[in-house]
């Protein structure tokens, strides 16, 4: 069988099983079973599927995933996140589009604590969206920032998906986590600028409303009390990794314990909240890691069948410039992101992408950050962006899906702008890791 027939058959079968509505992990496992029979020597290959699957998650470098998710879950289940939002609310009082700006600022801080994108969006959507709509905010102005900041969560550490990308692609996890900081903060700043300018030009988008004036120390006290400790947790995680005191896994565990300690200090942690957080963590991590189990052998089958080598050789010999190849790679990610979840996208593309990254000599951190921006855009692009569904689940029935799509459009364009900026100025991604880690 020629490599392209094999590739077409493998991806065709995968697409069919996904289309049938099988859980993604099962779709991969099903294709693996057939692929193992054909390309990995029959029965020994089937046993290899089991061994690979278990080995893929018996992996210390993936252990930060549940720890990072746990940080976010604890913060949300204890209500400490809500107190932080109130603290921002006190400080940001006269800015046009105040609640939208709060969504961005609070979302950025939560991104720095929570490794779970969906949890961040669900929390902000559940808390802020009803308030915004009640205050007469344009639905697009209300929903857009909440979805957009959920996407930025992936760039600002800690991020479960970043850990997975580093582990699967063989890119330094610490380096990748640090490399996302500058583009993530820049994107947040762009979002705030956009909201303020839009609402200043057209105040009807976010009508100003009277609120109880809080002055003097009382205005700032909640910020010091409820936001500073969260920022401190972020600093603990980053400093522990950067200074070499702890591996990413250990930093993540420290971050989770610090989050528990902060919630205990606020007297917000009950046994129920802890159990709910652990259960939520098991669900999100389990979803991600079971797909890893399902898809691990897939890349091996692609390789054994000659598919990986065939496609990579074709691209290498295509005469495309390195920039052309990079653009095609990013375009494929953006298209896949509209239809396929982030973990599957990684497992499908990385077997092809990483040999090309090596061949063309792309900086892995630079490439990793652009890859993450594409993943982030995938969360926001119709028809199957995960955060669009999350917003659908928290938005009132009167909001149409079309409005949700329209709300997110400007932020997708900002994401594309940032992708172009990082492509043109690699220092946006590589400067901070060089400064902190010497990488």
């Amino acid at each position: 069988m020629t490599w392209w027939v094999t590739l077409t058959a493998l991806f065709g079968a995968l697409t069919m099983l996904l289309g049938l509505g099988l859980p993604v992990a099962f779709a991969f496992l099903g294709v693996n079973l057939v692929g193992a029979l054909l390309f990995l020597g029959g029965e020994p290959g089937l046993m290899q599927v089991v061994r690979n699957g278990v080995a893929s998650v018996t992996n210390f470098s993936l252990t930060p995933i549940p720890f990072f998710v746990l940080m976010g879950e604890i913060l949300f289940h204890t209500g400490v996140a809500m107190k932080a939002i109130d603290a921002f609310d006190n400080v940001i009082s006269r800015v046009p589009g105040r609640l939208s700006v709060i969504a961005i600022v609070a979302g950025t801080v939560f991104s720095a604590i929570s490794g779970s994108t969906i949890a961040t969006t669900a929390l902000l959507g559940g808390l802020l969206l009803p308030q915004m709509l009640k205050r007469g905010y344009d639905p697009k102005m209300a929903m857009g920032p909440i979805m957009a900041i959920g996407g930025v969560d992936m760039l600002i550490p800690p991020s479960a998906i970043t850990v997975l990308l580093g582990s699967l692609a063989g890119i330094s996890i610490t380096g990748l986590l640090v490399a996302g900081v500058v583009p993530g903060i820049l994107l947040s700043a762009l979002f705030v600028g956009w909201i303020v300018v839009r609402c200043w030009l057209n105040p009807a988008l976010a009508p100003a409303f009277e609120q109880q004036a809080v002055v003097g120390w009382e205005r700032w006290r909640p910020l010091l009390l409820y936001v500073t400790p969260l920022v401190a947790i972020f600093v603990i995680v980053i400093v522990a990794m950067s200074a070499g005191w702890a591996t990413p896994t250990e930093s993540a565990a420290l971050g989770a314990l610090a989050t528990v300690a902060v919630c205990v200090a606020y007297r917000s942690l009950s046994w129920k909240a802890l159990l709910d957080s652990l259960r939520g963590t098991a669900a999100i991590s389990g979803m991600i890691l079971f797909i890893v189990i399902g898809a691990t052998t897939f890349s091996q089958i692609l390789s054994f069948s000659g598919g990986t080598n065939g496609l990579v050789t074709l691209v290498q010999g295509s005469g495309l410039s390195p920039l052309g190849v990079l653009l095609v790679m990013m375009a494929i990610l953006l298209v896949l992101g509209c239809f396929v979840d982030q973990v599957s996208t990684m497992l499908i593309t990385l077997p092809f992408y990483m040999p090309l990254v090596q061949h063309f000599g792309f900086d892995p951190l630079w490439f990793g950050v652009m890859y993450l921006i594409c993943m982030q855009l995938g969360l926001l692009t119709p028809p199957f962006g995960m955060l669009l569904f999350t917003m659908r689940s928290v938005a009132p029935p009167s909001i149409t899906t079309k409005q949700i799509y329209a709300a997110v459009t400007p932020y997708v364009l900002f994401g594309l702008l940032m992708l172009g900026a990082v492509m043109a100025v690699p220092g946006l991604a590589t400067w901070l890791p060089k400064l902190l880690l010497g990488k």
């Binding site: 289309g19 099962f26 029965e43 210390f60 565990a253 669900a283 389990g286 979803m287 890691l289």
Partner: protein
């Protein structure tokens, strides 16, 4: 929504997975503090957390299938009538059942093979390698049973 004995077993799997993650968090966090503060620490925590991660993932998988939390791409379902969607759901569950059954079988085969070969893991801990794979047939067995339930009874409104 009322949850029967099977549902409770699935929920126990989910809670157990969460507790494993909780224990891992405490152990790994203590390990790094102990190392930097020169406190006593049991060895092998990094290796133990690797096995914990696999155990938590394999424990969570059947619960996630039961509670409809595994990621699916609902490409076709969104355009189908409810009756056609239920038929498609059962067909997908049947495929899941077949996949789980094959993997449960070959998980047992891996364990038997490793027992016969006497393979041993020699890292921080030394123990027979087949121990690592014990959760696999249990996971795929439970997944198969849940998939069979979905084939027979169709979709349930999820409640975890």
């Amino acid at each position: 929504m009322k949850v029967g004995a099977w549902g409770r077993l699935m929920q126990v799997c989910g809670i157990a997975a969460g507790l494993v993650i909780g224990v891992m968090t405490v152990l790994v966090g203590y390990d790094v503090l102990a190392r930097n503060l020169r406190l006593p620490s049991p060895g092998g925590i990094a290796e133990a957390s690797e096995y914990g991660l696999a155990l938590a993932t394999l424990l969570a998988a059947p619960w996630l299938l039961w509670s409809e939390q595994h990621v699916r791409l609902d490409l076709l379902q969104m355009s189908l009538s409810p009756a056609a969607w239920r038929r498609l759901y059962r067909a997908a569950a049947l495929v899941c059942l077949a996949i789980s059954a094959v993997l449960a079988w070959y998980s047992v085969a891996v364990i038997v093979d490793l027992r016969q070969s006497g393979a041993v893991v020699m890292k921080a801990f030394t123990f027979p390698e087949w121990w690592v794979y014990v959760p696999a047939p249990l996971c795929f067995g439970l997944l198969g049973l849940e998939a069979a339930r979905q084939v027979l009874r169709g979709p349930r409104v999820a409640s975890s």
